[in-house]
Symmetry: D2
Subunit: 350 residues, 4 copies
């Protein structure tokens, strides 16, 4: 009953097999191998547009290099107050681009276009003291398990565009979002105004495979240097390419995401039906947030369930747990088995 | 006939198998899994001393984070003029630690203790304009394929110690050096005065496995944060740990290195015996540098041999190739087959 | 009627005279002149403790270098949400130290010890994702013109100490605070737990004179290098030292501050008595925040009064101006004349 | 007999008077005062072209911000091996722009166009490992007291242009160069291909006055933010503007430079005529490099002459001092008196 995180999962069999096959032969170093070169076409097909794609090994690398690509002196980056880039990356974006991150409030981990507009307004043009807006970043799915619809992303991008900000999307769980929204990948990215996407494979069934996707390839002319300087240019780059290749093949990535989402929904239904625990919000994909009695929380853990407590500050004050309640995050993955969810469900009511 | 680089090779079967096995199950994220935790003991056993070990994905990450760990404002880092950190890492060390790299001349890619002493002397204590020495870095094996003996490392470390510099060793090909020198790993590292080692598995038979080894664990108290901030903290850290685990098991790493070295020696002998090409220096491990007629260089390539031209500036002026000659680097790996070397040898005299 | 800022003022006659005298002769470069060297003793006398003092030219330089001195990878700096370092320095602290700034709410621009404790609690020891607390910064006087009492600073420092944070004080208007509080400088600094003070002379009667004062000189061993590397080491350092020397002489700095404060109080009384405008808070020194009808705001400006609108977000929601009101900041200085204040007062009721 | 450096001098009477006058009244903060605003026109007139000008307080700030303005990830900056930016600024350029500095050999502190071309050639287009050339920097006058002619600057700029490098000129002693060359300022700057000039007033008769001059104002759109973020935006910016204003007025700056140069020439003639000491090179302006017996060196110091030893590495091997000789730098300034030079001359032969 592991619901700690989707990065506790292993890798899918297809991904492992592809990696093993690639590893037998090797290839040209530093991304000049056929697998890595071929990914540009694969990603371009997937997004229905010519893109530039750069492989890195971690989500933090993808986010921070993608954002730093648009940084300028005095640059201000807007994101949700609880965004991963703001609270979970040890100050990477401040370090790499010297950016100031400004956290915006919003329920379900979502930045609203109006809230972004208000935040940007505090930075009048040319004020060298305050700094200047350079990037707006959204997480698809959010840190509270919600999705942005294409229209919502588009509204944010429209606000950003008016002041010349680039739009970054943290897609650590992009697969789950696409599966949940039932959209084509282009609809929630470049067609909605996204400039650069951190497209995560790691949480969705790879070992370590993240791609920085630029929807305007010209934006990326400095990126190869920036990646190398940051130590994120892998010599045997095919070890990442092979993972993506297998993962994206024949919709495998979406199949895996759909399973994870289905397990999330199954878990959510169990919680709603339990009478003992309740959902903090209805999950869009594989992240389930629940409030439950502390006594139940303890019993679940004692029974071997693994999951993390979550910060109550991510909830509106009126929805926070009471003194005897715990607020927890439960994450399913492509490896989650229905029987584990059901066993957990049984414990809820047991 | 691939002699382009040892990072063109794949991974060893044992490494692949271990990785595949680990990938089936996954584990706790961010290095809290059993495989990663177990590596501290394994590395401590290997080095016969309690060490702190941090996994990263690239040699540049290992080098630059290891060096930045000892950086301070105005810090000056000494290395060979042609060291990888100075010429092949896109300014990573300047970027991460704000360090100034000072390149030292020396034949065979080696820094001599006296040359280091002279270079340090230019920085009198407390001169805030010049900056201050913080790290001396050596490559074992060097960028020209030579090794430092324990005594040579020790002489350098003694000079460094006198002014409080930390000693960093770039061990991208550390396995080959240990195999070539026939020493215990401790003898050429901490017993000789090395503080931090970039221990590379990638070139020696892994896919992407580099370890930053601190011989005084207390030195590393900031490293976990620095690694995370740089995006080099992997969530599925076991994917690196599994590689190291298999690679280090039962001396597999040294077996692989010995094969690569033997192929290097076979290649060197062929060159010496050819009458057409000559060695620029006698190789210590798997890097072979040769001078050959341009016409032969072209013929070898036409026949399918892959290898890189090398900068003549790495040679003393009097040993540089003539106008009709090429200076090339040939690298063997754990995957190099004797028949490929022999085929290359035949082409030399053909 | 200039109430725009105290950095619109010139310099005091004594400061000008001292500067002119020093400029006639010059002296040893880079702080090795007698004037600069003598300041260590002068500051030590002033603070009743042996201190290390470093001169720089701007408040941003003092703040950011002082804070960066205590930065470490993944470092988090706590300050008031509206602190100068957080909103008016173009991301300097993020740039120099790679720090993440975390803004804390609190009325009158003040950080409360309990709020700081809560903010720190979100960063459990050793969590490399969140980062780690390194510095707590307070502004004396605050950006809303309030002062911290020695007891309040002490309470903050006690909280900071428990987790090993250094305490920084932004004393751009430290003179005004000391004059207002009626304390000895030591009481509100090191005796209350402050580690490093940005001691500003510029706003108080100098041209460009800021000192970074370390109360534990050992903390500053890297600072000379950091200052030089940042371009803040002046060759004719005596041009700053001469200003401080005259400014600190015979309590001149406090005389100037008392005048500015008296003008601030005179202005505040006029506002309170006006019946047309009201104080947002009772000023402690020379910063006066007022709410007044927009029509009056326009009339004052038309009559030649100069002052800045201020962000209503710095006020509690229930105290913010109505739709027809403006929120403004008025600052007096050592050069402010009583007749200008009185003329302004007359306009308020006119 | 102070020949230690021109930054040991005070300020000229006119500069002091202008500064004192400005300081009496103050003005709008952060460069919005009339004096600072007026400088754009003054500098544009001086350079016979519309320029953008930004005031800072130190030469290191001017150099490093000017260079960082053109930095990009993996950026390589070329300069003379002994350039101030490479050896005397504590790694400022590495820190601010993450740049790698590559020092080029050349006699008299001069970079030759051919040497620059060779150095650039080592960086093939698009090689992300080596990095990419972004800036070529020259010092006018050089660290060995020589000048570049307009033709020499032009040759360097032509080489730089071919690969898209910006050209930076460190003009800490630009006044002396212009006076010595007898050219209009435009001839040795933008007409010769310079993009950005660090124009130093400090060494030539100001207290702390440095200007970053962009000859293509569009290049500077990020500079205001970069300056503020670095703490180099002065609130009472008029204190620098007033210095420049007086210094540039009616050719005062060139008068002062001509005096310093004349004193340098007088000193050089004395050395040549002495029979005891000899010139290392014929000085172009106010920097005189001499080789003299150690016994004479000691006698001069004992008699009160102040000057610095200099690194023998700045000389070609065959011209270096013998074992009983010292290599010294003597600098004259606008304050140097002929009688001091003559007294020094008498000591040489005495």
């Amino acid at each position: 009953m592991i619901f700690a995180s989707d990065n506790w999962a292993g890798a899918s069999d297809k991904v492992i097999a592809a990696l093993a096959a690639a590893a037998r032969d090797g290839g040209r170093a530093y991304g000049n191998d056929d697998l890595t070169r071929g990914l540009t076409q694969r990603f371009s097909d997937l997004f229905e547009r010519e893109v530039a794609v750069f492989l890195v090994g971690t989500g933090t690398a993808a986010n921070t290099l993608g954002i730093a690509n648009f940084a300028r002196p005095g640059g201000v980056v807007f994101c949700h107050r609880h965004a991963h880039i703001n609270v979970d990356e040890a100050g990477a974006s401040e370090f790499f681009g010297g950016a100031k991150l400004v956290g915006i409030e919003g329920r379900d981990g979502k930045v609203k276009a109006e809230a972004l507009a208000q935040a940007i307004e505090r930075y009048p043009e040319g004020n060298v003291h305050y700094g200047r807006p350079v990037v707006a970043s959204v997480s698809e799915i959010t840190e509270l398990g919600a999705t942005y619809s294409p229209a919502e992303v588009s509204a944010i991008a429209t606000v950003a565009r008016q002041r010349g900000l680039a739009v970054h999307m943290d897609g650590a769980r992009f697969a789950g979002a696409v599966a949940s929204l039932g959209v084509r990948p282009c609809e929630v990215t470049w067609k909605a105004g996204v400039d650069v996407l951190s497209f995560g494979g790691t949480k969705g069934g790879c070992l370590a495979a993240e791609a920085v996707v630029f929807f305007n390839p010209a934006d990326s002319r400095d990126f190869g240097f920036a990646r190398q300087r940051a130590g994120h240019g892998f010599s045997k780059a095919w070890f990442i390419a092979a993972q993506f290749d297998a993962w994206l093949d024949h919709g495998h990535w979406l199949d895996l995401a759909r399973h994870a989402n289905a397990m999330g929904a199954r878990l959510a239904r169990a919680i709603q039906a339990s009478g003992t625990a309740r959902l903090a919000l209805v999950p869009a994909a594989n992240e389930v947030f629940a409030i439950l009695p502390k006594i139940l929380d303890a019993r679940l853990k004692a029974a071997g369930a693994m999951f993390h407590p979550w910060s109550v500050e991510t909830l509106p004050p009126e929805e926070r747990p009471g003194p005897d309640e715990a607020f927890v995050r439960l994450i399913t993955s492509f490896q989650t088995r229905a029987e584990d969810v059901d066993r957990f469900a049984a414990l809820l009511t047991g």
